[in-house]
Symmetry: D3
Subunit: 235 residues, 6 copies
Amino acid sequence: MRPNGRKFDELRAVSIERNFTKNVAGSVLISIGDTKVICTATVENNVPRFLRGSGQGWLTAEYGMLPGATTERFDREAARGKQSGRTIEIQRLIGRSLRCCVDLDQLDGTTIYVDCDVIQADGGTRTAAITGGAVAVLDALTSIGHEDAFIGFVGAISVGIVDGEACLDLEYVEDSKADTDMNIVMLNSDSFVEVQGTAEGALFNREELNTLVDLAKKGICELQSYQRGSFELSS
Amino acid sequence: MRPNGRKFDELRAVSIERNFTKNVAGSVLISIGDTKVICTATVENNVPRFLRGSGQGWLTAEYGMLPGATTERFDREAARGKQSGRTIEIQRLIGRSLRCCVDLDQLDGTTIYVDCDVIQADGGTRTAAITGGAVAVLDALTSIGHEDAFIGFVGAISVGIVDGEACLDLEYVEDSKADTDMNIVMLNSDSFVEVQGTAEGALFNREELNTLVDLAKKGICELQSYQRGSFELSS
Amino acid sequence: MRPNGRKFDELRAVSIERNFTKNVAGSVLISIGDTKVICTATVENNVPRFLRGSGQGWLTAEYGMLPGATTERFDREAARGKQSGRTIEIQRLIGRSLRCCVDLDQLDGTTIYVDCDVIQADGGTRTAAITGGAVAVLDALTSIGHEDAFIGFVGAISVGIVDGEACLDLEYVEDSKADTDMNIVMLNSDSFVEVQGTAEGALFNREELNTLVDLAKKGICELQSYQRGSFELSS
Amino acid sequence: MRPNGRKFDELRAVSIERNFTKNVAGSVLISIGDTKVICTATVENNVPRFLRGSGQGWLTAEYGMLPGATTERFDREAARGKQSGRTIEIQRLIGRSLRCCVDLDQLDGTTIYVDCDVIQADGGTRTAAITGGAVAVLDALTSIGHEDAFIGFVGAISVGIVDGEACLDLEYVEDSKADTDMNIVMLNSDSFVEVQGTAEGALFNREELNTLVDLAKKGICELQSYQRGSFELSS
Amino acid sequence: MRPNGRKFDELRAVSIERNFTKNVAGSVLISIGDTKVICTATVENNVPRFLRGSGQGWLTAEYGMLPGATTERFDREAARGKQSGRTIEIQRLIGRSLRCCVDLDQLDGTTIYVDCDVIQADGGTRTAAITGGAVAVLDALTSIGHEDAFIGFVGAISVGIVDGEACLDLEYVEDSKADTDMNIVMLNSDSFVEVQGTAEGALFNREELNTLVDLAKKGICELQSYQRGSFELSS
Amino acid sequence: MRPNGRKFDELRAVSIERNFTKNVAGSVLISIGDTKVICTATVENNVPRFLRGSGQGWLTAEYGMLPGATTERFDREAARGKQSGRTIEIQRLIGRSLRCCVDLDQLDGTTIYVDCDVIQADGGTRTAAITGGAVAVLDALTSIGHEDAFIGFVGAISVGIVDGEACLDLEYVEDSKADTDMNIVMLNSDSFVEVQGTAEGALFNREELNTLVDLAKKGICELQSYQRGSFELSS
């Protein structure tokens, strides 16, 4: 009933490739189905003004979409001179989420920049960015000898109600007809970082909310295996 | 234990004043405690390009903060030439939420603009904007003879975990030390429009999520009485 | 002959409400007829670069119009990313005028920001902003123990020639058909701060210039009574 | 007592050179003392949206300062991506003033653009721009066979109170220490287009206002001789 | 003497991978040494205003650098709100060059957008973008049945004088100390599209100019084999 | 066969007027045929961040076109809020070229700004800007007692193939139909600073490249006589 016969609670194929590019401390290509995002993490020796003298480090994220990532060309935001509201909303979510996997108190004077650039989009780009970004963050922390500041892998997935059924990991054709779309970010099986649910068409009730949260929890646990696995494979 | 001896599940004082200014179809001053937002709704005879010929109308929202609304002057975004990420995130939430109280199929060729300008900020400005905005929307629909397109009052409230306690309707001093901050938007007692929960400090678990949703539901029911009441009082 | 039977040399109803909002040192709601402007004054401990080390303080003003202030929705300048020429011209006038009611030599290292936001527009918004702003400035100076730096209330009013008659305090329907429109700012009965007269349709001659200046002087004297009165009432 | 022994009511040397550049309908180099402004007028076959179908033409003006026009390099506004408040205020004044020398009812469907670019600045650039611009406008109207739409030469001059003396045509060193600075625009000896007086240091009284207006009137009459003369000399 | 023992007239390892991503008509990953650029080509059914009614199609290019492509993080231009001068200069060169491999007369009403995004930078990104872009253009033309409009593969390479020696295909460490840096674009062995030589340190003489042009010609011939080969391999 | 019977290897009339305006250290009006550019050079006591502490000075250039310089009005870039790609490309070329006539090692802590503003455009504005700019630079260096840092006059000219003939110094009507357009910058008869050749219509071959370079060399030698001559005439 879902595209390619996927089950309602089944993730698409996941791959996480570390060291995808050189030059930066952390560089990850994450693929979740046909969604592909390059996540890089770089380290700079400064913090934003509001943290100077606080003893805290910082982590911030930026998100972009290559013009050729979508079926209809996506206007280049650098050329338009402005990031869209959608882009800004997404990168704020990524930043908040990834800050939860780092103990900023151990990073005084240091900022980690996580850049998530979508090279192919098929739904779930923001959650793929968070999941891949967490891996890049660990590589970046390791590169500066601060792997102890890593709290754990934050994972994220989208869930939604499509044609009346709660589904895990929506791809684009599902996402565009979903009645409810929810993005959930977790650190472990009972620790929520972010829950963002939006009624797109029909509203959702308490029971549906519960079902969706359960689905997401299952998916995120699996994603965290891939995150951990990416370190085993490459070592 | 809360400021002014408020109970954990108690709203601040609420007032909703319709027809606060002339010139526009809907104009509401909503006060929730010391948070005060002017919500105006205006009607224009056009729709965005992506809806032309679709038979659908549209509703969009913008949000602003007067420079004197906060204790430290809030830089005027028009002067900086750019809306902040926070502003953009908030006005997208308001727009999505208020679209759920209107049957856009009945509004072909019409756009309703809801402008929410905070004149005094003490926490919960985005949820006050949604709650007050819904009232302005009904007045705007009535002004064009389309009150039938009004589906119902969407209400919104913030809830959060402060010092380990789940609290309803956070004011600024609470919000700034909350571990979890959640904004919930509902149409009625079992219809969610939006659930946005963010771990600020400690993460939240499933039980806390449930408790916060319950608290929000209680608060929103009360807010909807105020929304309905604002029409009785003034008739 | 004027709307509501007003006399040619008669002001509209004036009210000046101090402490309209909390959070800032000076907060005034001024109403002149249906024109309503919130004027807030905030104090910051720095001065612009060109004044550092000069021993002088500074006062600057910004002006805005809420989107719902006018009959046709006024595009939000923060969203357009640019203040209009009209806005910039007005806020420069407000700033220059209000600097004349403060002895900047006594305010070394301090800047007063005056924000004037129009919530309802019916002509004369810039002169109302100056008149109300002066009151907010005195409250701000008092809040930092510098009431001695207050020189006096600057008042401002528009005058114009409408249908061949010199009129005091133009409301919108008059302003839009005026041949000449003049904004005058005075500190006292023989001290001009600013005289800005513009021929909109027919040009004006020397005699008309004199008549308009006389009318403005009368109106400003009355406004200054309201400014002073706002302190008596509230004490 | 004034620089170069100028009398208080004496203009600096004035020259108006028509056809300063090719390519455009009107091109004037005006020099008033060391202030030099290139004023060009071009004609386009369209009008702004708000005039379409009104039967009226339009005239608009833009003002710029070459980076090398001033002693300290003037930052290029195109590079900064923003016109300053001063520039915007000035070009609005130029536009309003020059619209008074054209009967727009005769120019249906046509816009005249007047560009005033200062190549050397020594005080009075905005009034020189208006005075030179009026000459370029007549050339532009003639080029399209509409010289009948020309109402007359608008002339403009600055006056001010410097060291207690009312002076005509302030140069930079005078302007920077003036107590009052006034820009006056006239069409003929008893027709005012614009009066803009600003107290810079000390305020001005009614008698000073009268004296300054008289001085300006004298100066503008002389400038209008130069404007007329520029056509006689070159024919 | 060169890094990795490369000969002065030797290219780095070249690979051209077609169909690197889905969703677009042409998608190429080109690697030249450690420089990697994603080149996508998309087709839209419109042309810029200046070509409407001309019977001609158009091709335009945009260039970007992912923040993690360089050793020091490269500021995201979308976030800064402005493309740098370098970016603009590069994308204009790419556009001019690629227009030479298409017969625009056969593409009435159609625009091809070529987007070149650098994911890893090690010198020669603009010439790699042109070389890879030409391959994406052929795929895009084929996708709309217009392969006949393809004139031929334009190839591009950088050459320069490093430590007194003329070198082909500069990598970053060479480029940064080159005395002369030249980018050459050719369609075939005696057809130049663009020659851009810049003295960075020492100036270059006529003989050096000739030597560099010869070197570039050799390198471009080899690149064109890779371009052709990318079609054979994948068919 | 060329306009005005010019020979293929003949420059248009050249004039270089030093001290064209006051206020700045170097001010040159260069006319090449009907192309007229004001080049000013100003000196500031600071260097860009990337040079601080390096012991080096800097030279940078900006380019602009007055709106009335072209037959169709050229939109003012300051008003549009953005410099065009063409402007940015040109001013980067001017800056790179003029840096070659100065020994920056002798100018520690100093930046020379060269502003080139076209007041009349008839082809070749960028090369006229470089040629005139070099003269302004020498005047600026002399004004600060650093004439020893002047290496020599850089000269620049455009050449191109028009109707099959290689031509020196293209004017606008030639430039707009040229098949190849090349801008060449030289310091002396065998020292190239920049070679930029672009195929506009037909591509160019090696022989044409050689012919164009020879033509440019001849023209630049003549321009350098005018540059030197401008100092003799005025002394």
